[in-house]
Structure formats: C-alpha cells, structure tokens
C-alpha cells in the first residue's frame, strides 16, 4: 500500500506538468501572437517589440513554459485580455467560492436523493420499479444540463411559480435550489445506479445471510451490514462527479446568472480571453487530478480488502 501511494504521489506532479504543458502549448500555438491580440490597432513595430520583450514573449517556447509554471505555482496566472489590468488569479479567486458552494449543494443533493432511489430499485430488484429507475438513470445521467435546465425552468418557475429563476444569494438562499437541482440531476442518476448495483451485490453476500440468520431485524440488516458496505463504491465516483459538475457549471451558471468560475469561463470562451481560458482549464484539471488522488487513496482506507498491485 505504501508503494502504491508513493507511486501515485510521484506520478501526480508529472501528470499535472503534462496537463499544464498541453494547456500552455494550445494557448501558445493556437490563437497566434498574444501581443497582436492585446494591441489590436496599435501596430507600431517598435511598441510591439517592446511589449513582447517586457512580457518575455520573445523567449523560446520552453523557457516561456517554465516561466508560466513558475508563476502559476506562486499564484500568478497572467493578465486577462478582456479585463485590462486585472490579474487572472484575482478574477478566478473571487468566483471560486461561489462555484464551490453551488457544486457542494449539487453534490449533497445527488447523494441525498441518489442513495434512497438506488435502495428502492435494489429492494424491488427485477420488478417494474427497478426497470423504471434504471431507464430513468440512463436518461438523466446522459442528458447535458442545457437540456434539463429549460424543462425545470418551465416546471418550477413558469408553471408552479415556486422558485426564483435567476440570481445568486449564497448557500442558504432559495435561489440556489434550481441551479443545484439542474447540476445535481446527473449525479442523482449516477449515484442511484451505482448504489442499486452495489446494494444488489452486497445483498448476495454470505454475511448478509448470517445477519438475517442470527435474527437481526431487516432494518438492522440494512443499516449495519448492507448500506455500510454498499456505500463504499459510491465514494469512488465522487471524484468523477467533479468532472460533470465542472462542465455543468459552465452552463448552469450562465443560465441562472450566477457569478462563478463557469460564468467567467464562458465569457472567456466567447471573447477569446486565452489567459483566462488556460487558467480555468489548468485549475479544473488540477482540482480533478487531486480529487481523484484523494479518492483513490481514501478508498483504500475505507475498504482494506482492496489491493492495488
């Protein structure tokens, strides 16, 4: 186990540097000269050359990459093209907290709704409730949020009129419900499916039969033996859940007017604000890799039967 963790810990920085390299290379070679983008109409060659030298853009590619990494590690991700004079890390920093709260709300919702739904399907294994739930999870897991958002908007805002459609007021504000629901639905579906399969598998174990044989009530059997063991695999998908949350957030935050990093990212995509695009990608990829590392290692502690070799 020690060797496994060590290997993962050594591989992670390599992985992150490669991710950063791809991101940097795409931002470097893709859109063309950043100075020309920055200086659109001022095409005085002397000025352009001076700005280029000032920003170190006349250096070789690998040197620039090194400088970018060095700066990124200290939290300096360059300057936005669109918002002149504003640092990318400043722009992102202000919005991360908002997105994190929204993501947490969606995640909580997925777990709170997903596990009971999965349990219901497992209890009615093979019957219509089970087939219905499985089909529904297939549908909802695959649907991108820009499909579910309009339907939910129509339902809750236009017809029922019980939820506000727009805006942001923090974690404990009713305005978080709609976006969290939209964002959490794929998670609900995924967790429901995972827990259904996991519970069905655990129900067939010998220790469940033993628990029943020794006269435990059904409640106790489920609470103590089935659910506890069945929930372990759910933990592993939480890392992957982060991926759907992030791409979902880009859309959901735009739809519902939430000032998070997803909203910032889509603005950057539309205005070709490359430093922000790169920083967003890098930040998300780092968060994702680290989250999966934590999950993989944490899993080992939750379930000592797992061997990584």
């Amino acid at each position: 186990m020690g060797a496994y963790i060590l290997r993962r810990l050594l591989w992670t920085p390599v992985l992150l540097l490669t991710v950063a390299f791809i991101t940097f290379a795409l931002g470097f070679y893709g859109p063309g000269d950043p100075v020309e983008v920055l200086m659109k109409q001022y095409q005085d060659p002397a000025v352009v050359a001076r700005v280029r030298a000032q920003r170190g853009l006349d250096r070789p590619f690998l040197v620039q990459y090194g400088i970018y990494i060095k700066n990124a590690v200290t939290g300096d991700l360059g300057e936005s093209f669109k918002y002149r004079g504003q640092s990318v890390s400043g722009l992102i920093g202000r919005r991360v907290a908002v997105s994190a709260q929204l993501g947490l709300a969606a995640l909580l919702l997925s777990v709170i709704l997903g596990i009971p739904v999965g349990l219901l399907a497992a209890l009615r294994q093979g019957r219509w409730q089970d087939t219905g739930i499985i089909s529904a999870t297939l549908l909802f897991y695959a649907l991108p949020v820009f499909i579910t958002a309009p339907f939910l908007l129509m339902l809750f805002v236009l017809w029922l009129g019980i939820l506000p459609s727009h805006g942001w007021g923090g974690f404990f504000d009713t305005r978080i419900i709609m976006p969290a629901l939209v964002l959490g639905i794929p998670g609900v579906a995924f967790i429901a499916r995972m827990s259904r399969n996991s519970i069905v598998e655990v129900l067939a174990q010998d220790y469940v039969r033993t628990a029943r044989a020794k006269g435990l009530t059904e409640m106790m059997v489920y609470w103590r033996h089935v659910l506890r063991n069945a929930m372990i695999p759910i933990f592993t998908v939480l890392g992957m859940g982060l991926a759907t949350l992030v791409t979902g957030a880009i859309i959901v935050e735009t739809y519902f007017g939430i000032p998070g990093i997803g909203r910032l990212a889509i603005d950057a995509f539309f205005s070709r604000d490359y430093p922000v695009i790169m920083a967003f990608t890098l930040l998300i990829a780092v968060a994702y890799v680290v989250a999966n590392l934590i999950v993989d290692i944490g899993y080992r502690f939750l379930d000592p039967r797992i061997r990584y070799d």
């Binding site: 893709g30 549908l139 820009f146 958002a149 309009p150 991926a243 859309i251």
Partner: protein, 319 residues
C-alpha cells in the same frame, strides 16, 4: 470455431453467437425502438435537403414567431425560418460530426492503440496508457472545449494557405474548418475510452487457451489478431460505439452551445438552444427551445438505451 464443442453443447449447426445475439436484440422492444429512432433521425440528417421542406436559411418575414401549425410543424423563428427544416439541418451537423469523430477517434485510433497496448505490452503499453491518463486528467469535455477554443485560428490560417497554394477557393468559407476543428477535437479525446476497453479485453483474451493453441501452431501475430482477437472484441466495441455516439452528440451540442462549434448560418442544435435559451423566450415562444432540446435529448437517450439493449443481447450473462 472448434467443432466438437458445438456437439457437446448440442447447439444446432450454423448458429453463431451473432445469430443468437441478433435474435435476442430483435426481441428487445427497447433496442428496436431506439434503433428505429436513430435510423429515422440520422436518415433525416443525411438526406436533409430532401427531408426538409425548406432551406434552413429561407426567411419569410411575413410569418415570424408563429407557433407550430400544419405548414410549420415546429413553428417559425424570429426571421420566419421554418424550425422543422432548421432542426433537420441541425441534425445533419450532429450526424457529420458524431460519425466522423467516432470513426477516426474511437474506431481507428482507439482500436489500434488499444490493440497495440494490450497485445504488444511493454513500453508501448506504458506509453499509450500514460498518454491516455493525461487526456483523462482533463475532466469531461474540457479538453475538447480547450482545443476547439484555441486551435481554430490556426486551422483557418492553414486552410487559407492551402487555398492560396492550390488555387482551390471557398473551402474556408464553406464551414469546412468548423467541422474539421469540432470533429478533430472530439476525435483526439474519444480514443481513450475505446483504447482502455480494447486493451483490457485483449489482455484477458491473450491468456485464453485457444490463443495459446494458435500460437503453438505457429500462427503469426497478425493472424492471431485478425482471426482470434478481433472477432471477440466486437461485442464490447459495438456497445461502446453506441454509448460513445450519444456522448459525442452531447459534446457536439455543448460545443456549438458555447459558440465553439459550427458557425451560423449553418444550423446546429446547440446554437439553436443557446439562441432561444432565455427565460423570456420560454414564457412567450417555448416551442423555439423545446423542439431542439427534445431532439437532442432523444438522440442521446436513444444511443444510450440502444447501447444497453446491445449489451443485453451480446453479453446475456452480464445481468
């Protein structure tokens, strides 16, 4: 394959796994309905100029924002364009992109790299799998978005240069660059999942006795791969292609929703959803949003359920 085995299980002569799988699939209502939906929608997309009553860009300012009627089953938009026709042309974009990305990225690249990785192992396996991990480190379709966002100017430039040197003109203006960037970005990313599954299958197949027997009889690597490994890879590949088409379709719609896909006036479902995504439109003319949204939902759902039905038919013991 081995004749005495068939006698032992008393299976009637000439019925392969495929015949049984096809029968099981034909009995599955879910699978047949989904297949019919996909054939219908993809057929409409491929033959869009025939299937659509109007050209996607034909405006009629006398009949703007009309609700669905016999003449315009999905209504008309702000410029009086027939939404039904626009959606069919939007499906065409999805058809082109999903097919191109799946064939090049998933099938060619994914299959080849998975085979190399699983069959030859060693450093090739290590290299391919590590590269795959790097791709997987970008959550979901973030890398696709990044590639599409950054590389377009370069590809446009490149196509324009080609036009200048070869004397062919109009390629850049035809929207070809958009298709190239979108499907290229999707293809670059979609090989990883396929390669991993293929690799896993090959690794377990390599341990099987009939492959050892083939090797003992002196069969070459090429013969083993083509005759013994490839046919056994097909069931998981078929399932993966179906599910993968659904997710590529979703990714394509997301890209055009972000404005990074095929550019107007060429219609795409994502752009239609974005243009009509406002709550005020939902209040006044909801059909403008609901028909494109429902189309995308049906495409994605049909591919996923089809994958599920194919899986049941091809791996009957999995459940």
């Amino acid at each position: 394959m081995v004749s005495f085995r068939k006698k032992k299980t008393a299976a009637p002569k000439g019925r392969s796994l495929w015949v049984y799988a096809a029968r099981r699939f034909a009995r599955s209502k879910k699978g047949m309905v989904c297949l019919a939906i996909i054939v219908l929608l993809y057929g409409a997309g491929i033959f869009a100029p025939l299937a659509a009553p109007q050209h996607y860009d034909q405006q009629n300012l006398g009949i703007t924002l009309r609700p669905p009627s016999a003449d315009h089953p999905f209504g008309t938009d702000r410029l009086g364009r027939d939404m039904f026709s626009r959606i069919i042309y939007g499906i065409r974009t999805t058809v082109i992109v999903t097919t191109a990305a799946m064939v090049t990225g998933g099938l060619l690249l994914g299959l080849a790299l998975g085979l190399i990785s699983g069959y030859f192992g060693r450093w090739a396996d290590n290299l391919i799998m590590r590269v795959g991990e790097v791709f997987l480190a970008f959550p979901d379709i973030l890398l696709v978005i990044l590639i599409a966002a950054t590389l377009k100017p370069r590809v446009t430039e490149w196509v324009l240069n080609m036009e200048a040197t070869t004397g062919i003109s109009g390629v850049a203006r035809s929207g070809f660059v958009d298709y190239l960037v979108v499907f290229g970005a999707l293809a670059v990313v979609s090989w990883v999942g396929m390669a991993r599954v293929v690799r896993g299958q090959v690794l377990s197949l390599k341990q099987s006795q009939y492959i050892m027997a083939a090797r003992a009889l002196g069969a070459s690597n090429g013969r083993i791969i083509v005759h013994h490994i490839f046919p056994n890879l097909l069931p998981p590949i078929i399932v993966l292609v179906s599910v993968g088409m659904g997710s590529i379709a979703g990714a394509e719609v997301m890209l055009s929703w972000l404005g990074l896909g095929v550019q107007p006036p060429v219609p795409s479902l994502g752009a239609m959803i974005f243009d009509n995504g406002d709550i005020s439109i939902l209040r006044t003319t909801p059909y403008l949003l609901l028909f494109p949204v429902a189309t995308v939902a049906i495409i994605i759902f049909a591919f996923n359920l089809l994958g599920d039905a194919l899986n049941d038919a091809l791996n009957p013991r999995a459940r």
